[in-house]
């Protein structure tokens, strides 16, 4: 046989002799791909989003049925598949249902790791199964695919660990001399192996080298990146995982994989681009900037007097305002304070105070993080205002309640050219009549920079865990009301 066998080889069905089966399976894949496209399309509107899930599920069911029709699957194979699927589902269901909303970023990073693991393993199996009879182009694609799978696997695990704030993983970026050189050397090693294999696919030893190089590179890639940049990195890894799936599609001659991979790839790329833009940073800077590594320098610089308030005072101030804007941040997620926040808002509204929420595009640790949490607490989404909408309104606001947010309200982003967050668009809370900041200490946020807002004379600090503080304020406000009513 020549180098270019008919399509059927990858697909495991010979279209010339088993035409009907070939057509049926292809149609299943085609409709499955259409399901995926519709799924994303419907996801672009809150009203149709749930229909989108349904379309995606249908797509998956069709893809699986189509695949199970492939004649290559043996009878015992079906049993193995059933067992593996059951195990996977047994793990997937609790992971889907039990993980709290606040742990969503880690959860998503973790599942990138699973996805990349699967893609990588399939690539490896394909290699061992078919070597040395592999054309150079396919071999190169396969090599790249395996590298991507390996690096996304460890990279995602590292990202999940940093987000979960696992003890033995440094949150801060770790930088050391020659770091970039080392990283490129490891990646270069993988690249050389891919070339060697493309030239001579029988060099079996090169595969483990690729795998190890990929795994190591995934770790090295994440080490110099601070926790605050993890969401961007996760979206990037998502994009890579999509590309890996698409490459696998070329190897397996499966258009469905190509479509799904391309969709996921562009999704990840767009989301990471959106995040970068919202932080006014470049991809390069996110990946190699070691953002937040230089905290020490920043931690000391500013000093000044702060004013702090008791719950009693804070409650009074809130109760006596007309318009309060709540600015939630990562601290609300950590404290799981979203339900209490809504309660506070309800309590205030009963006192005749108007309450709005201001959502910064990168508040929290992933795009839309605050939206999901507040949605969980039944805050209607019309009440959440985007940065562009609320910023012009701040001068009319009586009190801004900054709740575990820090970097997204740091005025240094507007004027301090030396600050690492300089140029990031922020919520202009300092334009309001007064600001109340709820956090546990004076520690900086994830960018690791001091926040001059806290030293502003308009600002009142209320120290404590976000959830506890909310509870206290609710008691203060509704308690006061009772005593008046009596």
């Amino acid at each position: 046989m020549n180098t270019f066998l008919p399509l059927a080889t990858g697909f495991f069905v010979n279209p010339d002799t088993d035409t009907l089966r070939y057509i049926v399976i292809s149609l299943f894949y085609l409709v499955g791909a259409i399901g995926f496209v519709l799924s994303l399309k419907w996801m672009s509107d809150a009203k149709t989003a749930r229909k989108g899930i349904f379309a995606g599920e249908i797509g998956f069911v069709l893809a699986i049925i189509g695949t199970l029709m492939l004649p290559v699957i043996t009878t015992t194979g079906y049993i193995y598949i059933a067992i593996a699927v059951l195990i996977g589902a047994a793990i997937g269901v609790p992971l889907g249902l039990l993980v709290p909303m606040t742990a969503m970023p880690q959860r998503i990073a973790l599942s990138h790791a699973f996805g990349a693991l699967a893609a990588g393993l399939v690539g490896i199996a394909k290699y061992y199964d078919n070597q040395p009879d592999i054309g150079w182009f396919v071999m190169a694609v396969l090599g790249i695919e395996i590298t991507l799978g390996a690096l996304v696997f460890t990279g995602s695990l590292m990202a999940a660990g940093k987000l979960q704030e696992v003890k033995w993983l440094a949150q801060r970026p770790i930088v050391f001399p020659m770091q970039k050189t080392l990283n490129f050397a490891v990646l270069g090693l993988a690249a050389v192996m891919v070339v060697i294999l493309a030239v001579d696919p029988s060099q079996v030893w090169a595969i483990p080298v690729i795998i190890v190089a990929g795994l190591v590179f995934g770790v090295l890639l994440i080490i110099p990146i601070g926790g605050a940049d993890m969401p961007t990195v996760i979206a990037l890894l998502n994009s890579y995982a999509g590309i890996a799936a698409a490459l696998l599609g070329f190897v397996l001659e499966n258009n469905l994989l190509i479509v799904a991979g391309a969709l996921v790839g562009s999704s990840g790329a767009i989301l990471s681009y959106i995040m970068c833009r919202a932080m006014n940073r470049s991809f390069r800077n996110v990946l190699f900037g070691a953002f937040g590594a230089t905290e020490a320098e920043w931690g000391e610089q500013e000093a000044g007097s702060i004013r702090s308030a008791s719950f009693d005072e804070a409650g009074d101030i809130l109760k006596n305002s007309r318009l309060v804007v709540i600015v939630p941040g990562y601290g609300m997620a950590v404290a799981q304070a979203q339900h209490k926040v809504r309660e506070l808002a309800d309590t205030l509204e009963k006192e005749g105070v108007e309450v709005k929420y201001a959502i910064h595009p990168v508040a929290g640790r992933m795009p839309g993080h605050m939206n999901v949490l507040l949605a969980e607490a039944n805050v209607p989404y019309e009440q959440l205002l985007d940065m562009e909408e609320i910023n012009p309104e701040f001068p009319q606001v009586d009190v801004v309640l900054v709740l575990g947010a820090n970097d997204v309200v740091n005025p240094a982003a507007r004027h301090d050219q030396k600050s690492p967050i300089y140029g990031m668009p922020i919520l202009d809370v300092d334009k309001a009549a007064s600001v109340m900041v709820v956090k546990r200490s004076m520690r900086p946020g994830f960018a690791g920079v001091e926040n001059e807002l806290f030293f502003n004379e308009k600002t009142l600090m209320v120290f404590g865990d976000a959830k506890d503080v909310m509870g206290e304020l609710i008691t203060e406000i509704s308690g006061n009301r009772d005593s008046i009513n009596v």
Binding site: T3, I73, Y80, A118, A125, H369
Partner: protein, 111 residues
């Protein structure tokens, strides 16, 4: 295993078109839905389940069968978990409710 040039060239068409389509659709997803979107694409990227099933079910060698077994488990976790999570999140998104009678609201606030 050799893929025909024809497949690669048509595959590139499919890739380019799907990429554009993804770009056009996803850039219109509002910020509100970015987290559910990430969860959904998580589920979708587990499409390598298709490849995993073949590797496991084909039982080519004991070695590849083991790899396939792990791969099927890993991608099933993603598919099942991904869709469940997306669904759970979206269920939370509600448009503004009709104002409740004051007692009900009070009872809830106290809970």
């Amino acid at each position: 295993m050799n893929v025909s040039v024809e497949f690669i060239m048509t595959g590139l068409f499919v890739f380019a078109l799907a990429g554009f389509l993804g770009f056009e659709t996803i850039r219109r997803v509002p910020r509100l839905l970015h987290t559910p979107l990430m969860a959904l694409t998580n589920a979708l990227s587990a499409i390598s389940l298709v490849g995993s099933i073949v590797v496991l079910g084909g039982q080519f060698t004991a070695y590849t069968t083991i790899l396939g077994f792990v791969a099927v488990i890993a991608s099933t976790i993603n598919v099942v978990g991904g869709f469940l999570i997306t669904d759970k999140m979206l269920k939370m998104f509600k448009p503004r409710e009709k104002p409740k009678p004051p007692e009900a609201a009070e009872a809830e606030a106290g809970s």
